[in-house]
Amino acid sequence: MLEQSSDPRTDQATAQVLEPADEATVPDGTGPAERDAGYQRRKLGVGFWIAVGWLAVLLAAAILGDLILPYGPEQTFRAAGRLAAPSADHWFGTDSNSRDVFTRCVFATRISLLVGVSATLVGLVVGGALGMIAGFYRGTIESAVTGALDVLLAIPFLVLALALLTFLTDEQNQPRFGNISIIVIIALSIAVVPSIARITRANVLVHSQREFVLASRTLGTRNLRIMVREILPNVVPAMMSFALLYIAILIVVEGTLSFLGVGELSKPTWGNMISFGRDKIDDAPWNVLFPSLFMFLTILALNYIGDRVRNYFDVREAGI
């Protein structure tokens, strides 16, 4: 429990932590929570589907953006004017360059989600493998890997990400390769590895002491086989729910980087939209409000789905 719940690398808004099943406590409740109500645990709930729905709509809009939206993210609307209030033509109003805030919010999803998802995936593969090794083997390997992780974990996440980002660009601040979004993804992927590895390790530790694993070991099954066949399937559900949380975390980090004036600024992201809208917050609050809302809802949805998925799988696991 101790190790599992430690998500060490997050900034405060994102220190999501494992929350075991407890949503489904008995609703009569005047006294302390009681056990059971297992039937509820098996359901994902309406909220889950609403959250999934939001993400699906968002994703579809981001992918199909050019096809279904009448406007482009960089298109300027002189007729509507600068900082125009929300209207039928411009649902979320316009920004200081007379661009459509709604369109930009939707297109911002691309970068924000792309960064969150890809960095998490890379982090999962690399960090997952490391965590698996550290959790499964004892002795030197474990010490070496956990030692290395401890070293990286001691450097604040945002600092590590910022430093990597700076060093992946040349002295003219141009990306050394690819484009700036790719650089951001790489920096965040590396920065997120140690914490994912640590969580994986904690999960693996739990399972590697379980009877079926010990039994396999006694039977002389190869280590790799045990890892892949016995432990991985048990760890995957938990890791998937963490992946969702990490996507949320990284969306916030991307926003923070944009807000600090590094990272992607040529294309809209929620973070840079908020940053740009900040000095017009008095006259045109929609410039800050709507990207914040998109960000909020998306993180909320990801967190919620992560929560529900974990509950769902915890129950099944308990049922074994």
């Binding site: 808004a13 401890d150 001691a154 060093f167 908020i274 909020f296 967190n303």
Partner: protein, 466 residues
């Protein structure tokens, strides 16, 4: 003498009261003394570990002490406090059986000595932590020694890692320092001055040798000793972070307990949902909203109570004008604390719900114990392990959070210092700050671990075997 239990309660009561006063800066010196008594008391009372709230108060006391000392540099004045404290402690417990007391006394001595001799607070701070750990080691045995011994390689590894990384990264340090377009002679001169042509391990050892003597080098961009830079920026960030931690605990513990106790009810759902929402709000958005609603001259709802920025010039030191000082740091602290509160509350609630299902709680209820007593006296301690752990780990996360808060509120803290260094590729500053942060992180987590072991002897024993 009275029994341990009563003595502890009295000490805790007075301690908490005075701590509160210290926290708001009314009576720094008395708070300092009492905070010391509290901590010593804790370390010496055999049954002290029963009360997590009390433990927490002690931890907060020690942290506040350090913050205060860094902020004010008490100087000779403080020596008197050490003396008074020593006398008081000897009277209460007798000094022989009190390792905690010795540690505290040693820490205070170092603090005062550091302040008097004007040694950089950062190093004084680190020295205090080391002494604390060493002292705790006496009570916790072999396990602690192992942990402390394991720290040294980690810190060396962190510093070597960042040193090599910074040295290996693209870009010539000398060219970088000399500035664009510098003559080859000037670059060569800088290379020679900084021994940049030596192999990395040699340069690292040289850096390390200087670093352990408290010399982290000079920033070529700021023309300032990095140690001075840290001394200038760390206290500002630490103050904000400390209050953020204190505020988030003050909110999350009662809310978490209430929510767990009323699990499943509307109250619980309301609190949980609010916290869940809070968790999805990035801190820079919270900061913007706070400024928009509550900043002087900016508030759109007429509640213009707090200044929107806190530059050095306007900063009020500890103990100078309590009300104003709190007004000043409240917005950044709240912006930083919001997410923490949500995290901690959820953690505590989860563990608490599980604890409340334990048989011994049912037994306690059957015995007719009052609800408050059950919740805070019996259920809170076993439910607070996860919270404690995350508290320690969050130190690194807090630095990240503080970075953006500092930019928004014009606070010249360590986050800004580091971010500027990164933008300017000021390698020596990055190296110095990262190492000090890493050191603080590792030490804090060790401290949390030790506290944790003290909370639950089973862990201590189990770990000692591993």
């Amino acid at each position: 003498m009275t029994d341990v239990r009563t003595r502890r309660r009295v000490a805790a009561g007075i301690g908490v009261l005075l701590l509160a006063l210290t926290a708001v800066g009314v009576v720094p010196l008395i708070g300092l003394a009492i905070g010391g008594v509290l901590a010593a008391q804790y370390a010496t009372s055999p049954g002290a570990t029963e009360s997590p709230g009390y433990l927490l108060a002690c931890a907060v006391a020690v942290v506040l002490l350090v913050a205060w000392a860094i902020d004010l540099r008490p100087g000779l004045y403080g020596w008197a406090v050490v003396a008074v404290m020593a006398a008081g402690l000897v009277l209460v417990d007798g000094w022989r059986r009190s390792p905690g007391f010795l540690a505290l006394l040693a820490s205070m001595t170092v603090l005062m000595l550091g302040a008097t001799l004007d040694i950089t607070p950062v190093f004084v701070f680190l020295a205090v932590i080391v002494i604390g750990i060493a002292a705790t080691a006496r009570t916790s045995g072999r396990y602690v020694y192992r942990r402390v011994a394991a720290l040294v390689p980690i810190v060396i590894a962190v510093s070597f890692f960042s040193f090599s990384l910074l040295s290996l990264l693209p870009g010539d340090l000398a060219v970088n320092i000399a500035g664009p377009g510098a003559t080859p002679e000037a670059v060569a001169q800088i290379r020679a001055d900084l021994n940049l042509d030596d192999p990395i391990p040699v340069r690292y050892l040289r850096w390390l040798a200087d670093a352990v003597q408290g010399d982290l080098g000079v920033s070529p961009f700021l023309r300032e000793d990095i140690v001075d830079g840290l001394a200038r920026t760390l206290p500002i960030s630490m103050q904000i972070m400390l209050y953020a931690i204190v505020l988030s605990l003050a909110l999350s513990i009662p809310l978490g307990v209430l929510s767990a106790y009323r699990a499943g009810t509307k109250t619980d759902k309301g609190i949980t949902a609010t916290m869940f929402g809070l968790l999805a709000l990035p801190n820079f958005v919270i900061a913007l909203v706070l400024i928009l609603f509550f900043a002087k001259g900016k508030s759109i709802i007429g509640l213009d109570w707090f200044p929107a920025t806190v530059p050095t010039r306007s900063r009020i030191g500890f103990g100078e004008n309590t009300v104003l000082r709190f007004k000043q740091i409240l917005l950044p602290v709240v912006a930083l604390a919001a997410g923490l509160t949500a995290t901690y509350m959820r953690l505590l609630r989860t563990d608490m719900v599980a604890t409340l299902q334990e048989d011994y709680i049912a037994v306690a209820r059957a015995k007719g114990m009052s609800t408050m007593r059950i919740l805070f006296g019996h259920a809170l301690r076993p439910s607070s392990f996860t919270l404690l752990t995350v508290l320690g780990i969050n130190i690194a996360a807090l630095i990240s959070g503080s970075l953006i808060i500092e930019v928004i509120f014009v606070l010249p803290g360590v986050g800004t210092y580091l971010a500027t260094a990164i933008f300017q590729r000021d390698y020596l500053v990055i190296q110095g700050v990262v190492v000090v942060l890493a050191l603080a992180f590792v030490l804090t987590n060790l401290a949390v671990d030790l506290l944790y072991a003290l909370l639950d002897p089973r862990i201590r024993d189990a770990r000692a075997i591993l």
